[in-house]
């Protein structure tokens, strides 16, 4: 049977050899997806992994080059595919975020130097936390191989450079085979950007820029809570829930407590009579677990824990938070919440908050009069003018890439891919909410279709899949372009062997919503429409993040924001 191999290399990982059977299964599925046939992993029981520890990688990144070259030379001669695992999701790299640019440069050099000695047909799949930008120097180093699909990059964000098949189900393999609720919580968490006043009184002295909404992470939270409640170190006798506003943790916590036969009460700050329900049982000498959605400064959790000690006289009050804005570890960490009392809180995930004091120059509610955000505000599926430009300011601008041949580049445009990196789930749920307003039949059976191989559309596709569990099909970009330029007939794009065709041609045709990162000339949308209509697939509507041609009529169309990008400045 054909073989694949895993490059015996680890970057910063303390354990040299992956023992996890889930991981072996995952590698096998990735190899089968790429090669399109059953394969077995080459076995080298005694093979030693080349390891570059984090500190070493930081201090002397050239070590990465040396060790990776050695590791790449160890690949089984018969392997048709090698997998270099640098994914955060798989645990191959413990580093937070992404691989530093310098390290990736050495990785790219090592690959470039080694791959020339490989058999020409062998493919190298590199699993990364994030895809580097196309203009990244390291990416450019590998661009020839990437174009030829000899090197295929996959990211934890479920993106790929695989041009032959942009619909390769790498993401669903990550989700289902590795099935990591913590990673899913991180990816499904909605981060809304606004101005959230701190404190319960009317005197606001500072604002939090983010509201963390875990309302679509119920399953993940249930699993994480269940694991935590079973932990013998915690093992509470009584659970108390408290939230100053967020409601998304209450449901999952109630479910888990019910399943574990644990009493769970909700604590509300206020008068003694209303703090806890009257029927709360005595907790004297018992262990109480205070569960909160988010710990920020820790002051509220600390205050509530102290109050619970007064009210219930337990042996101990421990604090568990789904999210924390402070903490050394990004996942499953512990932090101090009451400096003096030495109380700490455990948390699942560390998140990034931004605080702005009302006297700060950048405090827009004060200097501009921006409205204060409410955590319970409804979603009409749009971004307000302020929200949009605030996001643009945060994400920055970039030169338009992936420019279609038929129109000039727009020049500087909002960096939507970067915007999606942080706020992708928020924007994806907005897209869903907006499309639901114009398309009555919208359901999980609806298939969202976008052009493949585009950074912005790819990231939006990923977040639609993760946040809304939408089905997404990517039509290869070269086919869309060819139809747009009338180089081929729309019907000629259909090939029963292609995964995208197979997804769109089941026994009963699915209903489709088209989407793209932004719309300018509308030709890409039209080309996708022509391709689908060639097979009589019903199109319910279309959507995008930003519409740069808002005055063009577009039936059943939704966008988060729109204006005519063309400059109206004098001289233009």
């Amino acid at each position: 049977m054909p073989e694949f191999d895993v490059v015996p290399f680890r970057l910063g990982a303390p354990t040299p050899q992956p023992k996890n059977p889930k991981l072996s299964k995952f590698y096998g599925q990735v190899a089968e997806m790429i090669l399109g046939k059953a394969v077995v992993q080459a076995e080298f029981p005694q093979r030693v992994f080349e390891v570059v520890k984090s500190k070493e990688a930081d201090k002397n990144p050239v070590r990465i080059y040396e060790r990776l070259c050695q590791a790449l030379a160890k690949i089984s001669p018969a392997a048709e595919l090698a997998i270099l695992d640098l994914s955060q999701w798989t645990g191959a790299i413990p580093m937070i975020g992404s691989i530093p640019g310098k390290a990736f440069m050495h990785i790219a050099h090592a690959i470039g130097a080694s791959i020339t000695d490989w058999p020409e047909a062998r493919i190298l799949a590199v699993l990364l936390p994030k895809l580097p930008e196309p203009e990244d120097q390291a990416y450019r180093q590998l661009s020839t191989y990437i174009r030829q699909d000899r090197v295929i990059l996959f990211s934890d964000d479920m993106e790929t450079t695989y041009s032959r098949e942009p619909n390769i189900p790498y993401g669903s393999t990550l989700l289902h085979v590795l099935d990591n609720p913590l990673e899913m919580l991180k990816r499904k968490l909605i981060i809304r950007r606004g101005w959230y006043a701190r404190g319960l009184d009317d005197v606001t002295s500072s604002y939090a820029r983010h509201f963390f909404d875990g309302s679509n992470c119920g399953r993940e939270l249930e699993r994480l809570l269940a694991t935590t409640l079973r932990d013998p170190q915690l093992h509470p006798d009584l659970v108390v829930y408290h939230s100053a506003g967020s409601t998304w943790l209450k449901g999952p916590l109630s479910t888990v407590c019910r399943d574990h036969d644990l009493k769970c009460y909700e604590y509300e700050e206020g008068s003694q009579e209303t703090e806890l329900p009257g029927q709360v049982e005595s907790a004297e000498g018992k262990r109480v677990l205070l569960v909160v959605p988010v710990v920020d400064t820790g002051a509220t959790a600390c205050r509530v824990a102290e109050r619970l000690e007064e009210l219930l006289q337990p042996a101990e009050v421990q604090v568990l938070a789904a999210l924390s804005t402070v903490g050394r570890k990004e996942r499953m960490g512990k932090r101090t919440i009451c400096q003096g009392a030495g109380r700490s809180a455990e948390y699942f995930l560390r998140v990034r908050q931004e605080d702005v004091h009302s006297e700060d120059d950048a405090c827009d509610p004060v200097r501009i009069g921006t409205s204060i955000s409410r955590i319970d505000q409804g979603d009409d599926g749009r971004l307000s003018t302020y929200e949009f430009w605030d996001l643009v300011k945060t994400a920055g601008l970039k030169d338009e890439d992936d420019v279609p041949h038929w129109r000039p580049a727009l020049g500087k445009v909002p960096n939507l891919p970067r915007m999606l990196d942080t706020y992708g789930c928020w924007l994806a749920t907005k897209i869903w909410a907006g499309v639901a307003r114009i398309v009555r039949q919208l359901s999980q059976d609806t298939v969202f279709v976008c052009p493949g191989g585009e950074q912005g559309a790819g990231k939006l596709a990923h977040h639609l899949e993760v946040a809304t569990e939408a089905q997404v099909v990517r039509i290869p970009r070269d086919l869309v372009d060819a139809v747009a330029e009338q180089a081929i007939a729309p019907s000629a794009t259909w090939n029963a062997a292609s995964a995208w065709c197979q997804r769109l041609l089941p026994a009963t045709s699915p209903s489709v919503v088209l989407f793209d990162e932004f719309v300018r000339s509308g030709k890409t949308m039209k080309a996708m429409r022509d391709i689908l209509e060639a097979r009589d697939i019903p199109i319910l509507g279309s959507c995008c993040l930003v519409d740069f041609s808002p005055d063009e009529p577009k039936p059943n169309f939704h966008c988060l924001y729109a204006w005519n990008r063309r400059s109206h400045l004098p001289g233009d």
């Binding site: 200097r367 921006t370 300011k393």
Partner: protein
């Protein structure tokens, strides 16, 4: 239907974003401007015009002259303010009480008359003047605060309240002793902001900014010789009336005989900076600013005044009576007389002005 329908609120937010976001990032500024223009042209006329006018202020003063920019920005008028601005052919702006008194005396407004309108603490006196060819609605007001920025800010209130054809800055100034005498009047052929400078290691280098009134104004200035139009008789009459009225607070030079008061009328440069000249070196300052020959009047508001008027497409005129020579010890007894002298010259200027007479705004 467009995929986004902008509202007035959107326009206002975009303006505010431009004021605060765009600084230092020209690409972002350009993008927000493109949204602003696209949005504004879809709004109802009044809001659109106000938003575009404010956008023009921001384009002009995007990164520099923050005080003037903010003053000009406010002067354009709040886009969210409802319709219904008052209209005036001529608006006379004064700064200090003796100037307002002089203007009221010249235009026949009783010194104790309450204002016809007020806004943000400022009073506005309305008067109609019958010229040989038509009647003109004139408004007189007083800022109360010196400096160019204060003047710019004050005009924000003025222009939020009034649609004006011509705006006149009237009052007193310091003059050069070798060119003018106390009570003379200088009408501005140009205004020079001589406080602007570049700080260099080898010493400060002046970088004056010059403002030119509209050609129609300069042309009118050239055609007017008030002495031949009964100016001295007019100013003497008004001066006598004021003296006889014994109005509390009005001060006059002790030895002044109204019958012998015959001021001269000069066309020249008004020097405007935020510095009060009291060092007796006005000639030196004028020379440094490049003004050696022409008569000058030095004051502290005309640059801000001209800037905001131009931003609002309002024609402007500056006319000043000489009240002192910028000496370390300045007597204030000529302030009312100098202002009255300028105000009476303005009355005649109005009567003769074909610009105001023909009823056209440009």
């Amino acid at each position: 239907m467009a995929s986004r329908v902008p509202t007035n609120d959107d326009g206002v937010i975009l303006l505010e974003l431009l004021r605060h976001f765009g600084r230092g990032d020209p690409d972002l500024t350009e993008l927000i401007f493109s949204d602003l223009f696209w949005s504004a042209i879809r709004l109802e006329d009044t809001q659109r015009n106000r938003i575009l006018a404010r956008a023009a202020v921001l384009m002009q003063y995007g990164r520099n002259d923050r005080e003037i920019r903010d003053g000009a920005y406010a002067a354009v008028g709040d886009p969210m303010r409802p319709e219904g601005k008052r209209k005036a052919d001529l608006l006379v702006v004064t700064v200090k009480a003796p100037e307002l008194d002089g203007a009221r005396a010249a235009f026949g407004i009783a010194q104790d008359a309450p204002p016809d309108h007020s806004a943000r603490g400022a009073g506005f006196w309305h008067v109609r003047r019958e010229t040989p060819t038509r009647s003109l609605d004139i408004v007189v007001t007083m800022n109360g605060l010196s400096t160019n920025a204060d003047m710019a800010a004050f005009l924000s209130t003025v222009f939020a309240e009034y649609d004006v054809r011509l705006c006149v800055l009237l009052g007193m100034a310091a003059g050069r002793e070798d060119q003018v005498v106390l009570g003379d009047v200088v009408i501005a052929d140009r205004v020079k902001d001589f406080g602007r400078k570049v700080l260099r290691p080898e010493g400060d280098e002046l970088e004056p900014r010059v403002f030119h009134p509209d050609r129609a104004i300069v042309r009118t200035n050239s055609n007017i010789q008030p002495q031949r139009m009964g100016w001295h008789e007019l100013v003497q009459t008004r001066l006598r009336e004021a003296m006889e009225a014994d109005i509390p607070g009005l001060r006059f030079p002790a030895a002044l005989d109204p019958a012998e008061f015959e001021p001269a009328f000069h066309r020249g440069t008004v020097l405007a900076s935020d510095q009060l000249v009291e060092d007796g070196r006005l000639s030196d300052h004028a020379a440094q600013a490049g003004e050696r020959r022409k008569p000058i009047a030095a004051e502290m508001e005309a640059a801000g005044f001209a800037t905001v008027c131009e931003e609002n497409s309002v024609l402007w005129l500056v006319i000043r009576g000489i009240a002192d020579f910028g000496q370390p010890v300045r007597s204030k007894e000529w302030q009312f007389v100098a202002s009255l002298s300028a105000a009476t010259a303005l009355v005649l200027w109005i009567d003769r002005s074909t610009y105001l007479a023909d009823g056209k705004s440009t």
